[in-house]
């Protein structure tokens, strides 16, 4: 297969590409769902193909094909060049790439048990046991999920990079859905929407102890059915890890994507309030807020060796003591801020171009101790746990989130359970109101396996390390 890559690089050079890269990628995935004690959905998929990206006359062209024969690759290069030439006709400024030292390297996700090699029976048994442990009077749906993604990619560029990577990502979780009197409540573990995800092997899911957590999850779902709705008002709010991860994702991760900032996504997902003039000056949040994009942190769902332009994985400061200091960038966009690429270009498959994607956009730990310590330090507030819904405007300012569960905090102690909790705000005001972030002991990684972006649509698997944090004067309890 190396021959195919070398031949493609040669064809791109012969066609006059000033730059070209090719990715030969093979993906295997497995998704398992068990519902009420029996497997409901068991599916495996395999995909292989080649994606060719060229710069011709200063403009991009890309073509992907699932056919891996010489003739098909020749056609793919020809198509990519034709497309680039058409792009060039409607180009105002030629694309210029930030410099990059070519690399020859390999990378593999550290993992103990290959999740796709573990016997299907073993995986289903783990999930079946978890759903059986969720049985209860109003538990209509006891569900357990497992997902595994195995990606092998070879990358070659006309600049001389030759990189092979093997990324292994695994996830799982449980959810209890209680339905009664026309009301529906869901409680999940360790996160909603099919659980939590990481780079790593089957050991990641084994360590979740899904069956052990199942009775608590079912009890909490039933408690939610009987709970009153969360009252509206201005409140102090503590967000748990799962909810805070999505808060970081939507209100920080997306607006720091430099392609959005430069208007490249404006017609679809939108642009960003974090315009270039704000770099190094804008107060994004309080001094407690420190955020970094880190593609190197072990276990992060957005951890890899090199991005899909061959840029090494790296850690980039984004917010330091509340001040905006960086963006997620690519070789094309980084010159706009006079910096090298931060190595965040990733494609969802061989058939898609790389886009700027979050790596692991992490809220760095603070000094507020454990979650228990933070609750104990709060006189009057709400603890909101596990995401249920999300929405944010096209500049990433006005957001509204709903959580699965909410607990009243009075005099440092957890009390009343509330259902249907929501909160809303404007991004800089919200982060400015952050007065405490829990410490390293409470910091953990959360995987977001369904981050959508781009046209044609791409789904990326990205990560967020967070410790629970507290926010003051938050609008809570929005309801129709």
């Amino acid at each position: 297969m190396d021959d195919l890559l070398e031949r493609t690089v040669g064809l791109m050079e012969q066609a006059g590409a000033s730059y070209g890269d090719v990715r030969l990628r093979r993906d295997r995935t497995e998704r398992l769902s068990v519902q009420n004690g029996r497997p409901e959905h068991v599916a495996r998929s395999a995909s292989a193909g080649i994606g060719v990206r060229v710069l011709v006359d200063g403009a991009w062209g890309f073509f992907g094909t699932h056919r891996l024969q010489d003739a098909a690759v020749e056609e793919a290069v020809r198509q990519a060049v034709d497309i680039a030439q058409a792009s060039a006709a409607a180009q105002t400024e030629p694309v210029r790439l930030a410099p990059l030292e070519p690399a020859t390297d390999t990378y593999e996700t550290p993992h103990t048990r290959d999740p796709l090699a573990v016997a299907l029976e073993e995986k289903l048994d783990l999930l079946v046991r978890a759903t059986e442990a969720m049985a209860g009077p109003n538990v209509r749906l006891a569900q357990a999920f497992f997902s595994a993604f195995d990606t092998r990619q070879q990358f070659a560029s006309t600049e001389g990079s030759r990189i092979a990577q093997h990324i292994v990502q695994t996830g799982g979780g449980i959810a209890a859905t209680c339905i009664a009197d026309g009301r529906l409540q869901v409680r999940s573990y360790p996160n909603s929407f099919r659980g939590n995800f990481a780079t790593g092997g089957y050991e990641y899911v084994e360590a979740m102890d899904l069956a052990g957590e199942a009775p608590r999850v079912a009890e909490e779902a039933q408690a939610l059915l009987a709970a009153p709705p969360c009252p509206a008002g201005r409140r102090t709010v503590i967000l748990d890890g799962g909810q805070l991860a999505l808060q970081v994702h939507e209100s920080c991760g997306h607006p720091i994507e430099l392609d959005r900032v430069l208007g490249m996504e404006i017609a679809f997902a939108g642009d960003s309030f974090l315009t270039l003039d704000k770099l190094d000056t804008f107060r994004y949040g309080s001094e407690r807020v420190n955020i970094a994009a880190d593609a190197t942190c072990p276990g992060g769902l957005g951890t890899f060796g090199y991005d899909d332009e061959g840029v090494p994985a790296q850690k980039t400061p984004i917010v330091e003591a509340g001040r905006l200091v960086g963006y997620l960038s690519s070789r094309e966009t980084a010159p706009a801020i006079g910096r090298p690429s931060s190595g965040t270009m990733r494609a969802s498959g061989w058939n898609r171009i790389p886009l700027i994607r979050m790596t692991n956009v992490n809220l760095l730990p603070g000094d507020a101790g454990s979650l228990d310590d933070l609750v104990a330090d709060t006189d009057d507030g709400l603890l909101m746990m596990t995401n249920r819904s999300w929405s944010i405007d096209n500049k990433r300012l006005n957001f509204q989130f709903g959580t699965e569960m909410c607990r009243e905090i009075r005099s440092g102690r957890l009390g009343q359970v509330y259902r249907d909790a929501t909160y809303t705000g404007l991004t800089p005001e919200f982060w400015a109101s952050c007065d405490a972030v829990c410490g390293p002991e409470a910091w953990s990684l959360w995987g977001t396996p369904n981050c959508g972006k781009g046209q044609p649509g791409q789904t990326a698997r990205v990560g967020h390390g967070v410790a629970p944090a507290r926010f003051r004067n938050v609008q809570v309890g929005v309801k129709a």
Binding site: A48, F63, G64, A86, S87, A89, L184, I266, G270, K395
Partner: protein, 454 residues
């Protein structure tokens, strides 16, 4: 598609090839029952922003979904390839999964063949559209925007594809389609406007019209003023109506969700669920939508009345769900076997009224005109509570006239109830991406719960 190669590689030849492949896979299968879904196609998309093309891509893609059944045990495997090795591997994988699975006591068997009438969903010129044609289309949008001092962003997309479904109970159907979609987001200073269109034929889309329409809205939406959140009467343009309708379909119209009790229509079929002015149906055979003759189980598409005069009439099913609901055949809304969602209506229609969009605004004492929504999401599926933002043109209307643009607002609303407060709808229905075919509507008392800064 290269024109000279049309006869050999045209849609009819591709359909024959996929059917032959599917039949061979079914014939060679060791499972008791086998279903094979095969797809082959090419997709091109040109993206432009700030008046220039910045992304321009194409891909030829294939997919195979194999469902194997042994002793009522079901396994599914997919491959993004039509190569023999990949297909053999998918077939073996599906069988291995089935053999490892538990029996499903409710398994009704794969559906039998039913007559499928062909549709005209393919346009050779759209399939042959090259990168220059798409760049020219983009240039047309950009030029139209610049005539009004606007800057355009958007897409021009063309695709062609062939889908075949073959199973061991005699289903063997195939069809080919093309699809062209374009949109324009035009900015004029701090104003922005939007226009979009989707069709079988690229020649049915009009770059100049899209660019002009978005630019007109952008011009009008300059200098937006803050408006306090609250309850407002609203005229929703078709893009906004389409978004609500698709979200409603997602939470309410799946037979699986109804059976599991997590649809707001669970236990309410035959009951009044919204206002009598609301009639919603699905019909993949109506020429006003993007035609599809059969679903992903090869069952014929047909009109399905979902809500009629405010009464919930039916929900979409695949074969499995139909049998579990006591029906002989499905409604023709199966998703691929690889999808855990099972079934969904994908060609929605909403009945119009007697007005024009202009009249709907003209009759409004005080309210808002909304071009489209952004990032709508479900807050409470049983109450059909959605939240999302307005974008690309939100206007305050007083005494039947637009008085000025307003900053974008967040709505939080029970959509089934809100549709029940429609007090006027346009006679003209518009096809928007989805596809949905919907009118412009006026809704009383829509709840806006927040506002943003632009």
């Amino acid at each position: 598609m290269i024109p000279s190669a049309k006869a050999k590689h045209g849609p009819a030849a591709r359909e024959r090839r996929l059917l032959a492949l599917g039949r061979k896979m079914v014939r060679d299968s060791d499972a008791e029952e086998t279903e094979v879904l095969l797809a082959d196609g090419r997709e091109f998309l040109t993206r432009f922003a700030a008046g220039a093309i910045h992304q321009n891509v194409g891909a030829e893609e294939a997919a195979a979904v194999v469902r194997a059944v042994v002793d009522r045990r079901v396994g599914v495997a997919t491959a993004d390839s039509l190569e023999a090795d990949a297909l053999d591997s998918a077939r073996a994988s599906a069988l291995a999964i089935a053999e490892a699975a538990d029996p499903d006591p409710h398994w009704p068997g794969l559906p039998k063949a039913r007559p499928v009438k062909p549709v005209k969903a393919y346009d050779a010129a759209t399939a042959a559209a090259d990168a220059k044609a798409r760049a020219d289309f983009a240039a047309g949008i950009i030029a139209a925007a610049r005539e009004r001092d606007g800057e355009a962003a958007g897409i021009v997309q063309t695709e062609e594809g062939t889908l075949a479904v073959v199973n061991s109970r005699g289903v063997a159907v195939a069809y080919s389609h093309t699809r062209a979609e374009a949109n324009a987001l035009v900015t004029c200073g701090d104003g922005s406007g939007w226009a979009e269109a989707v069709a079988v034929r690229l020649s049915d889309l009009d770059a100049d019209r899209l660019g002009r329409r978005a630019a007109l809205t952008a011009e009008k939406s300059r200098n937006p003023r803050p408006l306090a959140p609250g309850t407002y009467d609203v005229v929703l343009e078709p893009s906004a109506v389409g978004e609500w309708l698709q979200d409603l379909a997602f939470v309410a119209f799946s037979g699986k969700d109804v059976a599991e009790g997590r649809s707001p229509l669970a236990g309410r079929l035959g009951q009044v669920v919204t206002g009598e002015q609301v009639t919603v149906w699905d019909n993949a055979r109506d020429r006003r939508t993007l035609l599809q003759p059969f679903d992903y189980e090869g069952q014929p598409a047909r009109r399905l009345s979902l809500i009629k005069g405010g009464v919930a009439e039916a929900v979409a099913t695949n074969h499995y769900r139909a049998r579990r609901m006591g029906r002989r055949v499905s409604t023709g809304h199966a998703l691929p076997a690889s999808s855990p969602q099972e079934c969904m209506p994908m060609h929605l229609f909403m009945k119009g009224g007697r007005s024009s969009a202009k009249q709907l605004v003209g009759e409004m004492k005080r309210g808002l005109l909304v071009t489209r929504f952004h990032y709508t999401n479900v807050l409470d599926p049983m109450e059909t509570v959605l939240t999302g933002m307005t974008r690309d043109g939100t206007f305050l209307v007083e005494d039947g006239r637009i008085v000025h643009a307003v900053r974008n607002l967040r709505y939080t609303e029970n959509v089934l109830a809100a549709l029940g407060r429609i007090d006027g709808a346009s006679k003209r229905l518009t096809r928007v991406p989805g596809p949905c075919v919907v009118p412009t509507v006026r809704v009383r008392d829509v709840r806006f719960s927040g506002a943003t800064e632009f």
